[in-house]
Amino acid sequence: MDLMEKLTILADSAKYDAACTSSGADRSGRGSAIGSAVSYGICHTFTADGRCVSLLKVLFSNACIYDCKYCVNRVSNHKARRASFTPRELADLTLAFYRRNYIEGLFLSSGVVRSPDHTSELLLETLRLLREEYGFGGYIHVKAIPGADPRLLDAIGLLADRMSVNVELPSSQSLQKLAPDKSKHDILRPMRHIALRRGENREELVRYRRAPKFVPAGQATQMVVGATPESDFQILHLTESLYRSYDLKRVFFSAYIPVGDDRNLPSPDTKPPLLREHRLYQADWLLRFYHFSAGEILDEAHPNFNPVLDPKCNWAVHHMERFPVEIMRAREEELLRVPGIGPKSARRILAARRAGKLDFKAVARLGVVMKRAQYFITCAGKLADGLRVTDEAILRALTSRDAAAILSPPAEQLTLIPEELSMEDVRLCLKA
């Protein structure tokens, strides 16, 4: 099989993976033969569906011996065409793409070939070629194979920038039903192991600055949304506790795209729950950058996202007693709760107000989306001139474009948050 065909099959099998970001590591290229990593991440192109492409994202092999029901590569799917790279082929391809500035690096995962250990050894060999033989300093993200020997995990972790172990599904019952070869234990054990190693590594680095870095860009995970019955509230809670307990950098969500008609799966003509995925990402940003807790965003009584309002606006309209806030005095956390104000514009407000008084025109210049924010702020104690504050006006201003699209057909044509988000995207998309 030629390289073109392999690449086609192995990129196709990996493309539903959401976690394609290159951010989090900072490394100059001067120490290597080729390649650097920048912490803010760089998009090298965008697919026809509007997602950022930053890494060469492929499976090493899709000849998998497992039988996860939601996956095209499951062993029982006899229609799937199978292919595997050799470590050398993949290392060379990565380098050829990298030199031409097509990519920031490699995102490598794999189906389970023969055994978890055997597969991990192949991944390790690919990384060794890249890092040690070619002196490659670009970004590498490796997905750990559940069930592999922790020593292999350690060796890979010293060569990769980021590792992830996929939670796969939002509860262990669902896991049992749909991924019979993987246990909760198999997944959580490597996650815990990586978290512990990272902790130890931080201490080593304090003692010797030159100690090798273990997974410097941190650990991430991913779960499929919509294949199983968990509510948004359950998913968000799980997300929050994953961040807390496993020192995770990112949790990714992937809307389930029907692949088979196992009786435990939604029917094959189910539409992928894109709006739900979008709302989960928005809520995830609120957890990480806006000081929200999962319990503030959703609760037992409201276990699912509002289809029409994004989670932040939804919170705001249910807490009108906290508004308006005064631009010249509000604390950063208070500013961050205002619809239309993001982390960047909040910081700008703090800086600019030390240099002088801010009126509404000035606030708009700082990047605040006034259409939304105007109902929630005052400047020098006054609301914007001529503003009529009615519930209806507020709701109209806050109703998101994506929801408007979903309420009027064609239902699935959304402007999605791409999986790779720059701060700029967040500004655009959270406020869209």
Binding site: L3, M4, L7, T8, A11, D12, K15, Y16, S28, G29, R30, S32, A33, I34, S36, V38, I42, C43, H44, T45, F46, T47, A48, D49, G50, R51, C52, V53, S54, L56, K57, L93, A96, F97, R99, R100, N101, Y102, I257, P272, L274, R348, A351, A352, R354, A355, G356, K361, A362, V363, R365, L366, E412, L414, T415, L416, P418, E424, D425, L428
Partner: protein, 265 residues
């Protein structure tokens, strides 16, 4: 601002030339009607050619850094590379204000004089950031070549990034809009004003690598989610001229014989 006079300063288009005009305006305690590059359309008002003087330019730079901080000085330097309309006069006004306020100017983000300057610089930084991702190299005889057509003069902003990333390569980035090239060898680079650059024709390895990348790119798109509008928002059409994955093999950039960089190299 001091008294406005009905005179247009003409300068050679260089940064030093512009700073010499700033010096002139301070020395004469006057605000010219305009500051224009010599080759700009001929203005209606009386003109005064201002020779470019590196020593005077250095004095302005030093004065500005001392009074308003090195970040303010850098902002002025970057602003000069942008497409801010009437940029010379706007930057002059900015400098005058910064000399009064000191480093506090950096926090005056909504100020009428400072805001347009900051916005133009932010726009340029954004464009430069996008080019660090969207720029495409081709390889020929072990060397790498890229052509870009940015609105702002982004080369000085992206040069360090690429020099750092490819410390052992020899490569060239040609800015077609401003006819300027970055030449880099083993991590050391120079920016050179040029006339034109013709990329060499792709050899077999180059064509195969392009085809692999294009296939990878096409495979990634999820048909059920196709959304050209969202794609365009993130990757506006104007960036795609030289991007491998958007060139059909027939439309690949025309190329003559070996690589050629003509002009004052």
């Amino acid at each position: 601002m001091p008294e406005s006079v009905d005179v247009c300063y003409l300068y050679d288009g260089s940064y030093d030339g512009f700073l010499s005009c700033v010096f002139e305006s301070y020395r004469r305690r006057e605000t010219p009607a305009a500051i224009l590059p010599e080759d700009a359309p001929h203005p209606l008002c009386p003109t005064r050619p201002i020779p470019s003087d590196p020593a005077l330019a250095a004095r302005v730079t030093k004065g500005l850094s001392e009074k308003a901080g090195s970040r303010t000085e850098a902002t002025v330097r970057f602003a000069f590379l942008t497409i801010l309309p009437d940029k010379e006069m706007r930057i002059l006004a900015f400098i005058r204000k910064a000399m009064k306020t000191g480093p506090r100017i950096l926090r005056m983000m909504a100020d009428d004089t400072a805001y347009p300057v900051y916005r133009a610089v932010a726009h340029m930084r954004e464009e430069a950031h996008l080019f660090t991702g969207f720029l495409r190299f081709s390889e020929a005889d072990g060397m790498l070549y890229a052509v870009i057509d940015p609105k702002n003069r982004v080369l000085p902003l992206i040069a360090d990034h690429f020099a750092d990333r490819f410390p052992r390569e020899t490569f060239l980035i040609f800015d077609k809009t401003h006819r300027e090239a970055m030449l880099c060898r083993n991590g050391e680079y120079a920016l050179i004003a040029g006339e034109d650059f013709t990329p060499p024709p792709p050899d077999r390895t180059e064509r195969e690598t392009r085809a692999l990348w294009t296939r990878f790119f096409e495979t990634l798109s999820i048909a059920e989610r196709k959304n050209p509008l969202c794609q365009r928002t993130h990757l506006p059409l104007r960036y795609r001229t030289y991007m491998t994955e958007f060139l059909s093999p027939e439309k690949a950039p025309p190329s003559g014989g070996p690589a050629q960089l003509t002009g004052s190299f």
